[in-house]
Symmetry: C2
Subunit: 179 residues, 2 copies
């Protein structure tokens, strides 16, 4: 349809929600450590920590309250609100990997992004099912599955990844889509 607005799909974890920050905070509390995101360069926390700590770290994701307490990444609210004026914006998260996260993720979005309609929220597995022009995601596997243009949102685990336009933060998103 001529003049139809473009569709932007936006991932949750590490893109609008600081899941890594909460992972680190729990890890540092449980193991009396002071690990930072910078030290992880290119690795998931569960791959970085000693093998005897891995089960604990993986369990963070499955705790009922994990998703409820995540911080919002800087400028995500303001820029997403602005994007809605010019694009059809959907939040698309691969929630099927952690089925007990559904309610917490939904409530988190209601709390921090009340201006996004529930009809624009998608819990999926494989992001190839999304009909969108752009997907902003930190996960290169999902970006490759997606059929529109994948935009890589920088996270410690993807610093070495190439082949996508990259944004480091929401100010970069704002420049890319709204300037």
């Amino acid at each position: 349809m001529i003049g139809e607005r473009k569709v932007i799909c936006v991932d949750m974890d590490e893109v609008i929600a600081d899941a890594l920050g909460e992972h680190l905070s729990r890890y540092n509390r449980d193991f009396n450590a002071s690990l930072t995101a910078e030290e992880l360069k290119g690795q998931w926390l569960s791959d970085y920590v000693p093998v005897e700590q891995q089960a604990t770290v993986i369990d963070y994701l499955h705790s009922e309250d994990f998703f409820a307490v995540l911080q919002v990444l800087p400028d995500a609210q303001r820029v997403l609100r602005r994007l809605q004026d010019r694009y059809e914006v959907y939040i698309a998260t691969a929630a099927m990997q952690v089925p007990n996260s559904f309610s917490a993720k939904f409530k988190w979005l209601e709390k921090h992004f009340p201006f996004i309609s529930p009809s624009r929220i998608v819990f999926c597995g494989d992001k190839s099912i999304l009909r969108g022009d752009y997907l902003i995601d930190d996960n290169p596997r999902q970006l490759r599955l997606f059929r529109g243009e994948g935009i890589l949102f920088t996270a410690p685990a993807n610093l070495e990844v190439t082949g996508f336009r990259r944004v480091d933060n929401w100010l970069d998103v704002e420049r890319m889509f709204l300037s």
Copy 2:
């Protein structure tokens, strides 16, 4: 991509899960009635019943156990399994209207359709976001939003609807896609 398999999206309620049957069963129990699907022709149960009963009927959907106990519609398992041999099959349900249904719907699919990977399950609001060739759904509003071909699955509330290819049951789906 030449030779790529077509994508079929399949709705849950009234297409693979007998939500209406459970609605009627609860209604008949609570109001000592013997209402059947046939008597509803063209109306939702909540529109059909006297106004003083509407709140009760609408609340059925929000009860924690509603989705857990739904029956599977005849032939849905066998035909969906066969469809997977020739198509990319996704289950796509508008779960965002009833956020406390997420877990029950996921568990119901695990129980009755264990051969469908969690990566092929989508909880969405508006089905315009699905990138699929076909959507099999009983809701004409969702079929109009969808960008592929909408296939109307017969339910009492859609008997008068035209403008779509129609299937009355899973044997019809089998004939349409597998013969």
